[in-house]
């Protein structure tokens, strides 16, 4: 009996010693879908920078949580009508939402339509990810995206105190609109050289159109900018 037990034990040990296993990898075959930005990071958009366009395809970044997919995966975004103030005329969601295989990040384009009412108000579009059989929704805080858009003018962040003091002067809606029309410049993250260049281009325009109604502020004063240069023509 002892011999049998001994032989059996040695045989088991030898069998276990010969067992060859692949190193296991973590692959749940589950691919979660999330927005790139957390819900707290709202997107603010204005058509002011796109005066000649009737719509704008807003890129909304999405990302995959989990292992990379070996095939195209379908996901779904819906509009949260309870939290949104948009009407159906204001937007259009893409026909299909496919997260391409082999990618960790992809982009969904939501069409924002420039309607007349946006000239006087801002609307809120709340997008919510909805799970599909391919892609369940990942983190809760990245499952909702908020987009605020309008065709109204607000003082841009880049028109800060430095820009006001040295380049473009006091902000007014009329000045900003004319500046955009003349230069087309969005000075977000612009270098000082770029800001100066845009301001001088605008100053050149103000000189060339001095006295014309479009260069007169609403209070009747001529529109001016403090950027230095071109003084010989004043």
């Amino acid at each position: 009996m002892k011999n049998k037990i001994f032989t059996l034990t040695v045989s088991i040990l030898l069998w276990v010693g010969c067992d060859r296993r692949e190193i296991p990898t973590y692959d749940t075959k589950i691919h979660y879908i999330e927005f790139e930005n957390a819900t707290t990071d709202s997107t603010i958009f204005t058509f002011i920078y796109y005066p000649n366009d009737d719509y704008y395809d807003l890129p909304v970044g999405v990302k995959l949580a989990g292992d990379v997919a070996d095939r195209d995966m379908t996901y779904n975004i819906v509009v949260d009508e309870e939290l949104s103030t948009v009407e159906s005329k204001h937007y259009a969601l893409p026909q299909s939402m496919v997260f391409r295989q082999g990618m960790f990040h992809d982009t969904c384009y939501v069409r924002l339509n420039k309607t007349e009412d946006l000239d006087s108000k801002s609307v809120r579009l709340v997008l919510r990810l909805v799970g599909t059989s391919d892609m369940p929704v990942g983190k809760l805080e990245n499952s909702v995206a908020v987009v605020l858009f309008s065709n109204t003018v607000e003082q841009p962040v880049w028109w800060n105190s430095d820009v006001e003091t040295y380049y473009l002067g006091t902000y007014s809606q009329k000045k900003f609109l004319l500046f955009l029309e003349v230069t087309g410049a969005d000075l977000t993250d612009a270098t000082v050289s770029e800001i100066r260049a845009a301001a001088l281009e605008f100053k050149r325009y103000l000189i060339d159109h001095k006295g014309e109604p479009e260069t007169i502020e609403d209070d009747g004063q001529p529109m001016t900018v403090p950027v230095l240069g071109l003084e010989e023509e004043f």
Binding site: N3, F6, T7, T191, V192, S193, E194, R196, A197, L200, E201, R204, V227, L228, G229, L230, E231, E232, E233, F234
Partner: protein, 502 residues
Amino acid sequence: MKMIRLFLGSFIAMILLCACFDDEGNYDQSELATVEIKVSYTTPAIGEEYVLRPEIDYKGIDSTEFAYTWVSSIQDKWSDTISREKILRYTFTEVASYNICLIVEHEPTGALTTWNLYIGSTSRYSKGWTILSDQNNQSILSYIRIDQEDEKIKYNLFKNIYTSLRGDELGTGPFRLGRHFSRESDQILVLQESGALEINGLDFSKAITTREEFIGGVYPEGFSPKQAEYASRLEAILGTDGKVYTRINPNGNFQVCQYNTLPAFSNARIEQMFYCAYLGYIYMYDELNHKMVAICDEPQAYTGMVINVRMDPDGVNSENFTPLDDMGEGTKVKFIGSYNVEGAKGRDFVQVIKKGMDYYFQTYKITSTSGSSIMYAFDGNEELFVGNGYVNDDSKYCMDGSSYFYFTADNVLYYWNRINKMEPFYTFQSKIIDIERYANGDDREEIAIGLENGEFYILDASYEAISGQKEKVLYKADGLGRIVDIQYKYGDSDTFNKESRL
């Protein structure tokens, strides 16, 4: 029980078998043949052979049994073997920090002894003369360093230094140099048909192309650079079309701002620009509107502001003085110079202008008020230039404050004491292309001359040399190609601001 015995028997047999292995390992405790290394060293200068001669104590071992390897790393970027000789002879080409390591190997035993040196290379090209020449249409940048040996000044020529150090060609179709300073070093602007660019003044490497210095990395339409001036904060570049583009340097460093693509003047044709130390603006001649104009450099609050020049209504000028705000159709400004007399009201200017076929010599003063877009000229005086009849459109001019004025006519360099004496200073074998004066207020007062035939001269411009009491030629080089421009290299902004006024 049998089985146990069988296993035990096998186990013992295996152990006994291991005992039969023949161990051929070497367990001799031989002494490592290391050496003692001592090296005296100096700071390496880029572009020059750096020699390290190690003194090695071989401790009685035959020195032929040793091998040597010198390894160097540069700022942890790369590491390479730079020599396998006992004496290191190596030429560094970059201003950087190096970790140089000598490894001495006793080949029979493999014993290693190492010696390390952390050292920074320096540039000895900071100051001197730069010469731009054209050799078979190739741009050749040469450099002359001024060394002191036994209290004597020695001029060392580094012909075609760019290619010597960098290995490639600078470009083609050269025509002008420009100088650009920071507080620490300088850059040399090379204007050439194949594309203008700035060269690092320390190691002569390419710093940036002028095209990249514009917003968007492209030239404005029709722009081709002709001249650039770098003031303390304002930097301006002039195109062959007479348009000037500016940028404002926020901190005096290189490549921290870009030229905008809107001309500084919409209705002007700037023919030439002028800047000198502490001028406070870049001064220009607008040939289209035949007037002098400036763009403010300092104070900082007004950098970039256009300053118009007007004749002071209360000033007294000679009757024939050509007003600077209306110099007349067709008038050309051939030379602008300026100096400051301490305590005097206004800054002194000297100009050579050409009206019709004649050349006139103007002197005047200018006062400018901080923040004003107008500055006033007064005390204007104008006379037919003493060199009229000698000079032509290719003539070059330079001056020594308010005393000597120099000008060229073909192959002759003239001097004029601005009172009553004008005569040839030196006659060369070839046409003079460019002249420039340099003085350090101590032991050097010289004029450099670049000739069309590739000769370069440095003449003594001291009073003793001018009056014939001393030999005039201090240095001569030749074989440089067709010289197109020469320029003194001040090395940094402080030196420029100090010495260019002497």
